[in-house]
Each structure stands twice: as structure tokens, then as C-alpha cells.
Symmetry: C2
Subunit: 420 residues, 2 copies
Amino acid sequence: MYARKRVVIIGGGFGGIQLAKSLKNSEFDVLLIDKNNFHTFQPLLYQVATSGLEPGSIAYPIRRVFRKISNVKFRMAEVKNILTDQSKIETSVGLIHYDYLVIATGSSTNYFNFDSKKGKLLSLKSVVEALDIRSFIMENLEKAMLTRSITEQQELINVAIVGGGPAGIEMAGALAEMKKWVLPKDYPDIDFTQMQIHLFEASDRLLGAMSPLASKAAKKHLEKLDVVVELNTMVEDYDGARLKIKGKEDFISETVIWTAGVKGNIPHGLSEEIVAPGNRIKVDDFNKVLGYDNVYAIGDVSANINDETPRGLPMLAPVSMQQGLHLAKNLMAIQKGKNPKKFEYKDKGSMATIGRKKAVVDLPSISFQGTFAWFVWMLIHLLSLVGFRNKLVTLVDWIQNYFNYDRPLGLIIRRYKRKD
Amino acid sequence: MYARKRVVIIGGGFGGIQLAKSLKNSEFDVLLIDKNNFHTFQPLLYQVATSGLEPGSIAYPIRRVFRKISNVKFRMAEVKNILTDQSKIETSVGLIHYDYLVIATGSSTNYFNFDSKKGKLLSLKSVVEALDIRSFIMENLEKAMLTRSITEQQELINVAIVGGGPAGIEMAGALAEMKKWVLPKDYPDIDFTQMQIHLFEASDRLLGAMSPLASKAAKKHLEKLDVVVELNTMVEDYDGARLKIKGKEDFISETVIWTAGVKGNIPHGLSEEIVAPGNRIKVDDFNKVLGYDNVYAIGDVSANINDETPRGLPMLAPVSMQQGLHLAKNLMAIQKGKNPKKFEYKDKGSMATIGRKKAVVDLPSISFQGTFAWFVWMLIHLLSLVGFRNKLVTLVDWIQNYFNYDRPLGLIIRRYKRKD
């Protein structure tokens, strides 16, 4: 009897979903595992955090993606350990055997030397975290209504963002627009000219992974929106209210959003030799984990360290998706006795938005900024959302936002209590 | 100097919002207080619980309602005590003085003799509770995928609804439709013909407050959808898995949704003499609380007990809204030295929906059921939602639901842990 081989994929992010979809109707039985029952469109999390979109618009039930794909199954489970010698994984729902294992577990916030303070910082890597940021900011605004002391108000309404990558500048831009157009309407007793939004970046430019033109435009746009951009600036300490800055004055704020870095989520059970800088898994040109025969890694958690990419590929959705598609083809080739092909990343460009009619786009051959870039950004993100309903509701919210200079959703549904 | 008098309203439900809106540009300073920063459109909570709508579609930020009304302010606060002798209320944000106090605190679930078991029951009176029901049901479906035992599966997927009022039958209908059209697509390994949905009602008909025609149609429609309707049936005990039924076989289910009754939320500080049956506040024909000069109560929490209405008016949104509007007029009349008018409820009818193309409508002169009633139900509810954005997004989700026989939102964003 000919037994179908089983591909187990850990992680329902961009890479895992793409891989499972590309194995549709293949000779494999595919099992996709994620700790959530939904896929998160991470690039728009900042809009959930800033009351522009609802979680349901950027999250999509994984089961729904695979409804009509009979060889792909889904399990909501946490992976506890990988037993590579037995080709099994230990999960919260029991032991699961694999013929091929693909680790697509993505990345989480890297607090670096601030790790001991992470309970006091806000992070933006999941839907729950985005909702927590929303609740925390809205609750502090309510508190700020109760005091007449400018100092106390500032502590409650100021926002520090640490890290000038795409997540940081998008968050800063969205908050600056709320400050300008939305909050004064809802909180008439607060003087929002006193509200300071500071963006701290350790290097000498924003959007370090993009072109210098993009960096410059992002800085200019943010400053136009009254965001104070502090380059070459290191944060040193934080006590929940006072952010110490190296060589500069302290910044007073209860709200510090940490977007300064990410690290790979490596599951337990792999040898320590495969750990690359940034806590990523060392893979070869075929995304196979070094030293293992039937274990692969794709997306943020994987890094193919070589002369061309000494730090691995950038941790971006397009990389993960291309790797997912490529690995599917390779697994099917191997199954047919053919040779797998090396993965090559086709950089189709990158982009970030700073706010209304302002975005920066780097294509391989050209960089552009401004209104057209903003339309491109919106179109690409809208088309990338999973499901027609989510595309349509997002469009409704964006149109409303555009014409009313407004953000529809300022609900504190669950309070956020900061850990101390 | 002529000092403006201050009206303090506790509660941002249908009554409180209507009252504050109706006092727009009056001679009063109005302060509206609610523990949430949003108004909840309670009649559609069951659609949030059954993954048909997002919370943001049925909740609306209270501050936004009053943006352009300069004499109405809002505070998010919990009321701890009423000090009627000082005309002050104690809140989580300090003491607040009033000239007129209006209690519009609504109602919450009444567990009657099941009070000691309420930690094991699911309730549907707030957005958080609706999201908890959604998460609990979806998590149990995930668990049911892991067992091959029909008994274990049934315990996880069966649903009991206690109480045959509008909330109970709407919940039962929505769940029955999920069972029929949605769940088999998402959970192919579960045999949903084994899933039982039982609706238990102590009296001899559903929708006791509506016409016998409506009761009969609701029962017929629910039974067509495979809901087992058990009239004249008392639940006796529940241990988290086994629901004991008086004189009948136990019903096995982890999911028991309690919609069997509500009771008024009376704030602390009023005399015990004003408590009417159902924990409501006794008011006179002007909605003034008996025995107090400047304290009023409207909506679910108030009851004008007299020969015509020996149990007070029904606890419905239209009653609250009419009382809010009426009280606003009376307060303005009193302020001008005129006599207040008695409140008279104009019953414009009531309605409930059982599912796709099925609703029951009682108007004062006519009762009708079926597809047209369903369209009326949808139109009324759509128009009653606060805000254009919410109307539009709800319409999008209903259209999608109608044409695809689907429910777009099955996300488990926060796990629900049942208290034991």
C-alpha cells in the first residue's frame, strides 16, 4: 500500500498559509497548526491599535481558507517540543507525526537590553496587543480629562515610539493624525497642543531597510505632522512614566510603544547549533534546517546566512510568501524523485505609509513618495487582505476616514492593565 | 448671577442617551456617566455572539454622539453611591454634584435560584459577554475535533438556552443556522447531526410578552431549524456539563446560555422602600423616584407600579427612549415654572427574529410573521444602529450572510475561561 506523506506546518502566518495553499491537491496530507484559529494581517495591526479598523477586518479564520481544500487540515494548538529523532512534535493536543516538518513560526518583539522592562512597554505584534494599545491610550485620555495639571495630562497623553522601522513610523503617523483631527473633537477639555509624540531611532535614519529617499520623505512627513523624530538616539531606561534618553532630557509618558526589533520564535527541540543572530533558524538554499533531513523553516524565523545575505533575508511578508510557494514546489519535486531548486528572493519593492496621502514606495527600479505612493500602498494592502468581506469593510472604513478625517472605532472593550 | 442647573445621568443606554440628546441646547448642563466609553446596541448582541457581526458594528463611542452638543459632557466612571441628602454621587473619579439626578442604569441577568451557578452559565447582556460566548463555542468546536467519542463531542457542541424570550429565541435561531450552514464547512470531522440545540422555557409559550400568533410562529420556525423547544420545563441544577431538568432526562452540554430573566441595576444609596419586584426602582407617573424630590429613574431600572401596569412597563428599548425624551421635556418645563406632564407609553409594537427570512412582528393593530416581517426587522434594526459607518458595515455583513449562508467572523481573539 502506498501511504501518503504528511507535511506538518507550524504557523498560520503569511509563509505557512501560502505553503499549505500551494500544496492543494498535491500527494501530501498537510496539517497546519497555529495557536490562534485565525491568520493575522500584521501590516495593518497599527490601524487596529489606532481605532481605524476592527480586528475582524485584518484577521481571518484559518479553517475558512482551507474549506474547499480536502488535503489540508487545521489544528488550533500550541507546539511544545520537536522530537526530531522520532519525527514527531509534542503539542497541547497530543503527539503529531510528520514526514516533513516546516517551521513557519514567525517572529516576536525583541526588547534587547529592555527585556526586564517589557511589562511596562506596549508591543504591536498581535491582535490582542493592538487592542491593548487602543484600550490603554483611550483609558489614559479618559483619565487626562479629570486633571487640570498640564504635567499630569502630558504623562497620560504623550506617546513615545521606540524604533523607526515601518511599524514605528506608521504608528507615529496614525497617532499624529488622531491628535490633529480626531482627539480634539472627542476630548474638548484637553489641550492637544501639549501632546507630544516622539519617535526614537538609534541609527541615523528612519526606515533603514528602504532607500535614503524614502527615509528622508518619511522624516519630513512625520515632522509636518508634529512628530518629533530623534535619530541617533538611544533609550536607556524606563520606569513606567519616565523614559531615560542617552545624552538628552528624559521623556515623560506612560505610553511607550516598542517597535525597535523582532526576533525569531524558535520552537524547543532543535539543536543549538542552528541558531543564527536574531534568534533565527539557520537554513540552506532550499530552506532546509542545517543538520536535519526533513525539517524546513520559512519566513521570519528562518535565515540563510551566506556571502550575499550575511544577516539573512529581511523579515517581510513577501519573503515568507515566496518561500512558502517555493518550498511547496520543492516538496512536490522531491516526492517525484526530482531535484529541488534553490530559493531566490525576488525583491518586488517595499513600502510604508505615514498618514493621509503620504507614503513611501521603493520599487527595484524607482522610488516615489507622496499621494500616488499612498494610493499604491492602499491598493496593495487592500488586495492582500484575506476575504472579500474584509476587503470591503476595510474600504468602507478607509473611505469614511478619508472624507471625515475621522477614526470610527474608539471602544474600550476590555481594559488593559499594564504589568509592573 | 444665574447658575445653570446640572442634570447628571447615570447610564449611556437607550434611555440615558436619548435624554441627554433631548436636552441639547437646553438651559441645563448635562453630565452623562457610564462605566464604558461606548453605547451598546443590545438587541444585536446575539449576532456578535454567533460570529455574524463585529463588536464595533453594534457599539458606538458615547463621546462621538455628543461631539457637537456643547452642554452635554461625558465621564467614563463607575457610580459607587448616591448621597441623596447632599445631592451628590460618589464615583470612581470623585464626588459629583447634581441638581437633578436621572438613574438609567438598565438591567442585568437575573439567575434566580441558579445564582450560585452563574459562573458556569453564559450570559448575553454586554459586548464582553457576547465575545465570551463566541470564544467559548469556537474553542469547544476545536476541542470536539480531537475526540472520536460521540458522547464527548456532544458535551462540547450541544447548546442549551434557558429562557424563551426574544434573546433566547434569537440566539437559538442563529446557532441553528450556524449548525446547518456554517459549521459543517469549517469542521468537516464533526457530525453535526449529533449537535442538539435545546430551548427551555418555564411557561407554556415562547415570547410571552408578544401575541399568541407570534409565539406559535416562533416555535414552528425554530423546530423547522431543528431546535428542540421544551415548554413548561424547569431547569433544576447544573454542574458545568449536566443540566438537570425537572421531570425529564438530563441534557448534556458545556454550553448553557442563560436568557431567562433580567433585574434592575439599582445603585447604592437609595432607601429600600423604593425597590419594586424585579429589583426595579419605584417611580411615579413622571418617572420621579418615590420619596425623592430631584431623583428620577427611566428605562429598565424603573417601574411605575399601578393598576394599569401592576408589574411596571416592559423592559424594552422603546420604553426607555420614550421616557428619556419625555423626561427631557418635563425637566425643561419645570425649569420654566410649568407643570410636568405624565408619561404615557405609546406601544408601537415589538418584534423578534428567528433566522433567515423568519421573524415575528406584533404591531398594535396587526401581527405578521415570515419573510416580510424579517425585512421589517432588519430595516428597523439597521436604522436604529448609531452612526452611518455601523449601519453600512452591518449591511455589508448581512448581505454577505444572506447570499453566502455564512458568518464571516469566527475569531477567538481572547480565550474565555469559565469560572467554576
